[in-house]
């Protein structure tokens, strides 16, 4: 799956289905300070992501 980080850089992640929260932890991102879209739709971070998904992480905190 493709991960788009808050700074707009992208990462490729090859792994089975897993909760988005888990992906955030791998990148050291606190779920409290972001929101996520999966294939262009807003989803809770407890939703799952799998092969073929595009996960975009949007930072909500200003100046941080």
């Amino acid at each position: 799956m493709q991960i788009i980080l808050p700074d707009r850089s992208t990462r490729q992640l090859d792994c089975g289905p897993l909760p988005i929260e888990e992906i955030l932890h791998r990148f050291g991102i606190n779920p409290v300070s972001i929101i996520v879209t999966r294939n262009g739709r807003l989803v809770p971070e407890t939703a799952c992501a799998e092969e073929g998904d595009e996960i975009r992480i949007i930072r909500v905190a200003h100046g941080g």
Binding site: I34, I35, G40, R41, V43, G63
Partner: protein
Amino acid sequence: MPAPDRRDILCSSTPCSEPAVIWLRDSGQYLCSTHCIQHVENLFARTVEGQRMIAPGDRIAVAFSGGKDSTALLLLLHAALPTWPDVTLLAITVDEGIAGYRDETIHAAVDLTTRIGVEHHIVSFASLFGGDLDALLKGRESRSCTVCGILRRRALTVAARQAGAAKIAVGHNLDDEAQSVLMNLLRGDFPHLVQDAASGEPECFIPRIKPLAGLSEREIVTYLLLTGNYRELPECPYTGYALRSEVRVMLAGLEYRHPGTMKNLISSRDTIRKNTTRVSGQGGVQRCRECGEVCSGEICQVCRILSRPE
């Protein structure tokens, strides 16, 4: 409308079977787009009503930078206007003159006020203080946010007074408020901890209201995205208060592991405020010797910044 996804988590409002867009960690609720918008509007209305922020006939100046929080603030106030008798809005944008940042946000600000039809005033540091922030900061960039905050507050007050506003609405959200409580405690700044800007003591002082104080940053950004008002804008190039950044990261960590931390911090502050006898500004209202504005010493902070004694 994108196709539904079999993996969708459903909204916890009943009866509703729409896919959830947000999980509210402290209440455990999952909300769909419609219910999330409703939740944000309700929280906003509850904050405004609970603290009696708006009275019939008020002319409210909205501090409108064009950024996320103030955009949500203006939209929510504007949408609620029909529920308040004779209340009018105007937006005030302060142009600090920050190269590479301000032009685009002002553009976004003008777009929105034009689209929804709200009176809009733009005041610049250059016209009020004789120079833009970039010039005023030369040699003291490390204090950028302090200097800018003091000048911006003055610019807003002046513009709001000129426009005949009764109140100034600012976009501080739950996260900002919780950070401020902790920062005031960490700095030992008791006066700022207990001082409530909304109570508006001296007659010449325009009270400030914070209608977004019950909404988290996540709820605000989600609301903007869901209503088609989210816009990616450049970040201010000045680096911010060192302490605030540390407090922000620390509080976000606590909120994640202990949901409700930020709300608890704010309710502790409110309890302290309720139980504190007002330490009325020693000797009553004083006025600045230079500019005549209300201040706590002989010369106000703005005049001190502009005369550059440091």
